[in-house]
């Protein structure tokens, strides 16, 4: 049988590998240690981000409490002890602020209490938001995500889909883990993901194109990676990470709510969702929509407050209202700047690096499960040629096997590859050519030959030009739509060699026409219109490690594959070295800006709240001191 044969081959070839080979157990141990380091880094980043945020939100909370207390006071007076307590708190807060802003010396114990007074409410609010979001999304489960992706059950009558179901069961046996349900997506991209918030509600989503393009060993490796990532607890980690991002978005929504209908709508949806008793299909979809809205909200985009302040009509009433609400506007900007800066520079990269160690760990565990690193290596190589985008999966981009944002839109699928390869082959060998498979590696092996022919044709070789023409005409007769996407060789050669403007015009027109045709027939869109809402990037670093890096680690575990020429990284490195002083300067300025805005927002808020309190005090009602 195939398994024993390939294992036998591996066992023999293992004798001839280089000596610095790493077993998958060592690789796993290394990656688990790396995860601990990265988690610590994440925790530190959250703390660093939390301090300015807490400094900004705490006065808001106190102000809100004060306003409510004043309102209650005007109806029925509150006991004097309450006002004494609040003035004590204010005194402590002032000591802390004095120490921060002016380095006024203060007694350490009093200072500690003062800082706690200033920081605790904000910290507590963030924690409450984070836990609330986690609870909310855990309840909803994964059904909404599946609906958004338009996933379907596998068809047991189709051989490939039956194979997929069998491979999932095999991997479940190999890992000792119960097999999650697997769903299929018919999309133009080749990708697979493990969705869910915990192993209990985990689901596999595999695209049909992936099982068409990969053979059984490679599908096995992909599914081993997915089930290993479930077993290693990656779903919990991913859920916590997205909960952090979404609680930031919720905070921004809260801040925006007095000003804008959009944020109020989001908050209302969350409120309604949180208190729904039953869990049904609508709930799941609702949860997915809320997740998308919240993860978009933490970005610096035009939103309610800008609309609020920049509305065209300039009446004196509006100016007064703008003046009155200016501190809130300032606070809002400070919070968003703080969030953006820290998520770009510290929290984002920390989370990206943490996620990368999990991907490497899942790769090493997949090798442990299948005992066959070659399968995973060739799967990665084949998938690096394919588009990975699955529409509707933007917010979960980090959970996919390869980066969905890889730049291979429009790569030909199996049927198209077969036709193109056949046309190319018949142009050389005539109509009696041997049948060609549509395999990815065989297809891309033809590329140097093709490039050479094009070069020769451009240089004037008539035979090469003739070959291109024959290929094009063969393709036209077998699939005119496919041929329309490729440039006509006659026009191409004329435009390139003779600078014929009419040929160029014809080429452009044909290209535009082909694009329109493609958009009309394909229901799915190309690159998403909102790149920010995708979770494939956190800050400046992509959450997915590059395929070359994963292949390098697999090679250390014993995989054999043809190494493709790697792009030299020298030029970007030189650029980074040259620009680094400028980058450091920019970072320093941004930090300064964030701290200035934090302090200014504190000052503004304190003045504003004091003014409101005074206004209430001046009102002719029974007031106790």
């Amino acid at each position: 049988m195939t398994i024993s044969e390939s294992a036998h081959a591996n066992a023999i070839s293992a004798r001839f590998l280089p000596r610095d080979r790493e077993s998958f157990f060592d690789a796993q141990r290394r990656n688990r240690r790396a995860t601990w380091r990265m988690s610590l880094f994440c925790l530190l980043s959250v703390l660093v981000m939390g301090i300015p945020l807490a400094l900004i939100t705490t006065p808001l909370l106190y102000g809100l409490a004060l306003i409510i207390a004043d309102i209650i006071n005007s109806f029925s007076p509150l006991p004097a002890a309450f006002w004494q307590f609040s003035s004590d708190l204010a005194h402590l807060g002032l000591i802390a602020i004095g120490w921060l802003l002016q380095q006024k010396p203060a007694d350490p114990q009093v200072l500690a209490v003062g800082l706690a007074v200033m920081l605790l409410p904000g910290v507590l609010l963030s924690l409450v938001l984070w836990f609330g979001i986690k609870l909310m999304f855990q309840r909803s489960g994964v059904g909404g995500a599946l609906l958004a992706l338009k996933a379907r059950e596998p068809n047991q009558g189709d051989l490939k889909e039956l194979q997929l179901a069998d491979v999932v069961q095999e991997m479940a046996i190999a890992s000792g883990f119960p097999a999650p349900t697997v769903m299929l997506v018919d999309s133009a991209g080749a990708n697979a993901a493990a969705l869910g918030t915990s192993p209990d509600d985990a689901r596999f989503v595999v695209s049909r194109r992936l099982i068409d393009d990969l053979n059984r060993d490679e599908i096995e490796a992909v599914l081993a990676h997915l089930i290993a990532s479930i077993g290693n607890g990656d779903l919990h980690i991913a859920f916590r990470m997205t909960a952090v991002l979404e609680s930031c978005g919720l905070l921004v929504a809260f801040i925006n709510s007095p000003f804008g209908p959009q944020s109020r709508r989001v908050l209302w949806r969350i409120f309604r969702y949180g208190f729904r008793a039953s869990i049904g299909k609508d709930n799941a979809q609702e949860a997915a929509v809320i997740a998308k809205l919240l993860s978009r909200g933490s970005n610096l985009e035009t939103d309610d407050i800008d609309n609020f302040f920049d509305s065209g009509r300039r009446s004196s009433l509006r100016s007064i209202r703008n003046f009155l609400f200016f501190p809130i506007f300032f606070t809002n900007t400070a919070i968003k700047l703080c969030l953006w800066f820290f998520s770009m520079t510290t929290l984002g990269p920390a989370m990206a690096l943490l996620w990368r160690t999990r991907v490497y760990l899942a790769d090493a565990s997949a090798v442990e499960l299948t005992r066959n690193p070659d399968g995973l290596a060739s799967a990665l190589q084949k998938l690096s040629y394919e588009p990975g985008e699955i529409p509707g999966g933007d917010w979960a981009a980090h959970l996919f096997f390869v980066n969905p944002k890889s730049a291979h839109h429009g790569a030909p699928d199996a049927r198209q590859r077969k036709l193109i390869a056949q046309a190319w082959n018949t142009s050389q060998n005539g109509a009696t050519a041997a049948p060609i498979s549509g395999g990815i590696t065989e297809f891309y092996k033809l590329q140097p030959e093709f490039a050479g022919t094009v070069k020769a044709a451009l240089a004037g070789d008539a035979q090469a030009a003739e070959r291109l023409r024959t290929t094009y005409h063969t393709l036209q007769s077998s699939d005119p739509a496919l041929a329309a996407e490729l440039p006509n060789p006659d026009d191409f050669l004329a435009a390139a060699r003779l600078r014929d403007p009419e040929a160029l015009a014809r080429l452009m027109a044909a290209h535009k026409h082909a694009l329109l045709q493609k958009d009309a027939t394909q229901p799915t869109k190309g690159p998403s219109s909102q790149p920010d809402s995708s979770s494939s990037h956190a800050g400046l670093i992509s959450l997915h490690p590059s395929i070359e890096r994963r292949l390098k680690r697999l090679a250390r575990m014993g995989a054999h594959f043809e190494a493709t020429k790697s792009k030299s990284g020298v030029i970007p490195l030189v650029l980074v070295l040259i620009l680094s002083p400028l980058i450091l300067l920019a970072l320093g300025l941004l930090i300064l800006l964030v701290s200035i805005m934090t302090m200014a927002s504190l000052v503004f808020l304190v003045i504003w709240l004091a003014a409101i309190h005074k206004v209430f005090a001046l009102l002719p009602h029974t007031v106790a001191g």
């Binding site: 049988m1 195939t2 398994i3 024993s4 051989l159 039956l162 194979q163 069998d166 491979v167 069961q169 095999e170 991997m171 046996i173 190999a174 890992s175 000792g176 059984r216 499960l369 005992r371």
Partner: protein, 185 residues
């Protein structure tokens, strides 16, 4: 004097706690080993159940290959009757694997059987079954390795046999397989 007493009592408590923890750890690993063995059993029985189906679907096309059918049926009967003895069972199941292998090799010579959809689905089922058996064996062996390692590392090796644990047997290649490999290499 009283601090010494307290220290001794503390030490005894710690040792007892460690004993309890080791016992529980060994028990849970032994249960996992037994669970893994029953998983292999499940997959082997699944193969037993699939074979009559396979024989029926090819019998009508291959009237002259009676001997192959006989050997497969016989091997299946022997595997079912082998029971839970690890060595006898693994011998019988390996014999059944080789009988099936030769049956499928013969089927390759009959193109009209090979291409039927029924045959393709059955072949996929057989391949999957062989893979499942292989992975179940791999999982069992991994669990046995963990169990044996836990028993034989210091300081548990001092108490393991007293507590009633003995190393489990790996599901390895049988005698016939080992001799075959030697001859080939």
């Amino acid at each position: 004097m009283s601090t010494l007493l307290v220290l001794i009592v503390l030490a005894v408590v710690i040792v007892i706690a460690w004993l309890i923890a080791s016992f529980n750890g060994l028990v849970s690993l032994r249960n996992r080993v037994q669970n893994a063995w029953s998983e292999i059993d499940v997959q082997l029985k699944r193969r037993h159940d699939l074979i009559p189906n396979l024989l029926e679907s090819v019998r009508s096309y291959m009237q002259h290959e009676r001997s192959i059918f006989e050997s497969v049926t016989q091997a299946r009967a022997q595997a079912i009757s082998a029971g839970n003895n690890v060595l006898a069972r693994s011998l019988a199941e390996t014999a059944l694997s080789s009988a099936l292998g030769s049956l499928l090799a013969v089927v390759e010579n009959y193109p009209q059987v090979r291409a039927t959809e029924n045959m393709l689905l059955l072949q996929e089922q057989l391949t999957s079954t062989e893979n499942r058996i292989a992975f179940a064996r791999q999982f069992y062996n991994d669990e046995v390795m963990k169990f044996n390692t836990m028993q034989s590392t210091f300081p548990r090796n001092l108490v393991a046999s007293t507590l009633g644990f003995s190393p489990a047997a790996l599901f390895t290649a049988t005698e016939t397989d080992r001799t075959n490999v030697q001859v080939k290499v």
